[in-house]
């Protein structure tokens, strides 16, 4: 495996950020190599490129080069290929590609999978279809113009009614030169794209035969768990393995070094950046079964050097964040003269918001299996970031990338956790030390206590209004630890979901604007959590718009229409690198659609209320209306969430609906329940009892409405999340007149005294 470091990699991280949403100009280098070399495949297979192979029986193999973690990417990417290929969907077989340079960047994140493959996969499919058509014309001795694909893996000669199947044409097509610039299908001719199709892996899931990373079986495989430092940045001082080694089945106990790891996405690390990206380190217990390894770990005695992180607590962090908001932070964007205009404003509105650290809590706990021997390393990993893992493995094991094989398994939930590469590197080090293939399983408390957390944040928003009630200045100050600095060091701003990141609100109507961030320095590692900084920044922004509406006696929807009633760029100019200026018509479109479908404006009974929020992010336009009931004792129930989505060309409407339904649940869980708290530098939560999830009885009705469109596809994995919490907060205000500005909601404040 050769190195994947290319110029495009410097922008990979940016793609995971909402600021990079949807610019075709920055699409990843997703090139089409001449041919996939599948070992053992018959020579007569037609393999026009790395993604398609057709054998003489007509079986079509399509290779998917992104990670399946429930978003339906194996289905959707195959649908795109099959559409342009003109393939009979019922004869298609889908294969998961291993990490391989021929596929380019394989990162699955930032709601980018469809966006980054839409053009190249269509071209790959169309190019193959064109070669099959040429082969048919040659076979019949007719012109290409007289031949056409039927869409069922068949080329037809209409004049004579002759037909040849793709299987019959495979051998001949293999000798046809790869054409350039084949025209793509007109969307009106789509037969697969845009239709509801079942997930390709559904059957395996319901019969228990879908194989996740944790289900990996390798001959001679041992099982391991690791005791990791309870305090972030802590180290093993000494340990006693005597009792652990006495546990039946325990083979070996050894220290795992806290090795330094490279950044996640091939970025250049800045010198003297305070880079903190280290493997956790700890003590590994290797045994014949998972349970024996767990029992062995319980019998370990470890003396930890906790380091300075032990001084940290949520209480102290919150106090620091409050202090940070009192003095200016790093200026990220300034337009006009916000300080002067807010000082002279006829009316000012100010509000502070707060969000906590959050864990990913994927249902499949973190795990990886590795086999390191004879200068080679094979890893089976539920990973969203195989390229980053390969870079780290090569560096840490001191092996050339050609010595690495990374199998991308089915993933039991990713949500950004598996963009991190720690667990793959850890498994490889353990396999090397144990001199055997080893599956490293993280128990639930390992998983929640050694995550890369969605950052804690405080926000101060201020708006200045003129005498007519128009917003003339808008100031947003974020206090938070930098997400990216976990991997890169330094202070990298978190602007996703802010006014400047193209969420579309306010948009061009506010002439004076300031965004700044103050940075909390903490040993708690931060990472990418579904919708990334968009979900916490957007909570503050969307609630604040509602506060302005209330202060000016305007309807929250009407105020949003006012704030985006301009064709100009959003407040920040929308000119960040990679940022597409918001299309205000599409943003208005989803706001209007959600209002219509949710009966916006129709009166509700006392104690009930509706709230609205909407944004542009990840290439898509999404608006939510939440409907809630608040009982006199403060009990909150979310009854209904209506979502309008404009994600451009829909590949599979059922997958889009599922992602939005799931995004609502993800957003609600964070709004209602969850908070990672730190005491003595340690995460206090251990499992689902103290980090609860929304359950079936509390599931609101969710309605998803899609805007028909042939615009290029937008992302869909993340955009369902960010508007959920602010829509609910705004609904609570509508129901009670009380503002909940802190997540998770402190609903005791809603009880009527």
């Amino acid at each position: 495996m050769k190195t994947l470091r290319t110029a495009t990699n410097t922008s990979r991280r940016e793609f995971l950020k909402s600021t990079a949403a949807g610019s075709a100009g920055l699409l990843l280098a997703f090139y089409l190599p001449a041919s996939a070399s599948t070992p053992g495949a018959p020579e007569q297979d037609f393999k026009p490129n790395a993604y398609i192979a057709i054998d003489s029986h007509g079986d079509i193999r399509l290779v998917v080069t992104r990670s399946e973690m429930g978003q339906g990417v194996r289905t959707a990417l195959a649908m795109i290929l099959a559409e342009e290929l003109g393939a009979d969907w019922s004869r298609v077989k889908i294969e998961q590609g291993d990490c391989d340079p021929q596929y380019g960047d394989m990162t699955t994140g930032g709601s980018m999978s469809i966006r980054s493959t839409w053009d190249p996969l269509r071209k790959a499919g169309a190019s193959a279809r064109d070669m099959l058509l040429t082969a048919a014309a040659q076979t019949w001795g007719v012109t290409r113009e007289e031949c056409s694909p039927t869409g069922d893996s068949v080329i037809e000669h209409k004049k004579t009614g002759r037909k040849l199947t793709y299987g019959q044409l495979a051998v001949k097509a293999a000798s046809v030169p790869v054409p350039k610039d084949v025209p793509l299908k007109d969307p009106k001719d789509y037969r697969i794209v845009g239709t509801k199709r079942a997930r390709v892996d559904g059957q395996h899931i319901v019969i228990g035969e879908a194989h996740y990373g944790i289900d990996t079986k390798v001959p001679g495989m041992l099982f391991a768990v690791v005791a990791r430092p309870p305090v972030f940045g802590g180290k093993v001082k000494k340990f006693d393995a005597t009792r652990a080694l006495a546990v039946p089945g325990v083979r070996n106990v050894f220290e795992v070094p806290a090795v330094e790891m490279p950044p996640l996405f091939g970025e250049e690390r800045k010198p003297d950046s305070g880079h903190e990206h280290y493997l956790w380190g700890g003590v590994a217990v290797v045994a014949d079964s998972t349970w024996q390894a767990i029992a062995g770990r319980r019998a370990l005695t470890i003396d930890w050097d906790n380091g300075p992180g032990a001084e940290e607590s949520t209480e102290k962090q919150r106090a620091t964040l409050t202090e940070l908001l009192k003095t200016d932070g790093k200026e990220l964007k300034k337009i006009g003269d916000p300080d002067a205009t807010i000082s002279s404003a006829a009316k000012t509105i100010e509000a502070d918001y707060e969000t906590p650290f959050l864990a990913h809590m994927t249902m499949e706990p973190v795990n990886s299996t590795a086999s390191v021997h004879d200068g080679k390393c094979e890893v089976w990993a539920p990973t969203q970031n195989p390229n980053g893992m390969a870079t780290a493995l090569a560096g840490v094991l001191n092996l050339p990338q050609s010595a690495l094989t990374i199998h991308i398994t089915l993933i039991g939930g990713g949500f950004g956790r598996r963009l991190c590469i720690d667990y793959g590197v850890e498994a490889a080090l353990i396999s090397r030390s144990a001199a055997a293939p080893v599956k490293v399983i993280w128990t639930r408390d390992d998983d929640i206590r050694h995550d890369y957390y969605r950052p804690i944040s405080h926000h101060r928003l201020r708006a200045g209004l003129d005498a007519r009630g128009q917003v003339t200045s808008w100031l947003h100050h974020i206090a938070a630890p930098s997400t990216d600095s976990t991997f890169l060091g330094g202070e990298v701003p978190d602007t996703g979901g802010t006014e400047i990141a193209g969420t579309g609100l306010p948009s061009g109507t506010v002439p004076n604007y300031l965004l700044q961030q103050s940075f909390l320095h903490t040993a708690v590692p931060r990472g990418y959590w579904r919708a990334v900084d968009t979900n916490w920044n957007h909570f503050a922004v969307q609630c604040f718009i509602d506060e302005i509406a209330a202060a000016t006696s305007k309807d929250p929807l009407a105020l949003r229409r006012e704030l985006i009633a301009t064709k100009e760029k959003p407040a920040g100019g929308g000119d960040n690198e990679g940022e597409t200026p918001v299309n205000v018509d599409r943003l208005l479109g989803v706001l209007n659609l959600v209002a219509e479908k949710s009966d916006w404006g129709k009166p509700l009974a006392a104690g009930r209320g509706r709230g609205i929020a909407g944004l542009y992010g990840f290439g898509s336009y999404v608006a939510h209306v939440a409907e809630v009931t608040v009982a006199k004792d403060g009990t909150l129930r979310v009854d209904r969430v209506v979502v309008a989505v404009d994600c451009g060309q829909v590949i599979n409407p059922d997958l889009v609906a599922a992602q939005i339904e799931g995004g609502v649940v993800f957003g609600l869980t964070s709004a209602l329940y969850d908070e990672i708290t730190i005491q003595n530098g340690q995460v206090q939560q251990t499992n689902f009892d103290n980090y609860p999830m929304l359950r079936i009885a509390d599931m609101p009705k969710v309605e998803v409405h899609l805007v028909p469109s042939h615009e290029p596809p937008g992302g869909i994995g993340e955009p369902g999340v960010p508007s959920t919490a602010p829509a609910v907060a705004n609904a609570i205000f509508a129901a009670t007149g009380k503002r909940l500005r802190r997540l998770p909601f402190q609903t005791q404040e809603l009880a009527k005294s």
Binding site: R61, G70, G72, R74, S90, R91, V92, K93, I94, E95, Q96, K196, R197, A198, R199, V200, D201, G202, Q203, I205, V206, I207, G208, E209, A210, H211, Y212, I214, D215, S289, T290, W291, Q292, M361, T362, M363, E364, P365, L410, I411, G413, G414, F415, T443, R444, D654, A658, E661, G662, V664, F666, N687, F688, D689, M693, L694, R695, I696, A697, M699
Partner: protein, 171 residues
Amino acid sequence: MDAISLTVNGQKHSVEVSPDTPLLWVLRDTLGLTGTKFGCGQSLCGACTVHVDGEATRSCTARIATVAGRSITTIEGLSSDGRHPVQQAWLSDQVPQCGYCQAGMIMTTAALLAKNSAPTDSDIDEALGGHICRCGTYLRIRRAVHQAAAKHSASEATAPLPAPAGAGGAR
């Protein structure tokens, strides 16, 4: 370690493990039946649910010694052909996203329907209240339970959505 006998999906097994070993790890590590999932280890999420003598049971906290001699059914053994009404309803409604929790959901639903052929929404809330789906498929789960109940009564299968015949690599 004494040998412990148990019947799994109709097959008798004798395993030599420590008696405090949870059934989950015997199924997964000893017998290689990985369809039953590890989620929390404390009966908090339901991903590991199997049937013990027909009762939905959390295998992550059921010590092997307590199920000795009993009959265990896992997701792999729920039906011989993957066409149990609950499995069919799950496909028809396209319930799973990541799918990791769904074996547990399906096993609890199958046990529920065996006792209660027409569960109400509150019956469903009670039966599945101990399960977590992080992807948030609850709406579809509820629909699928009702559909499976209807099918269970009518004993006829509804055709699932079209999917490609071979999705071998998608496992």
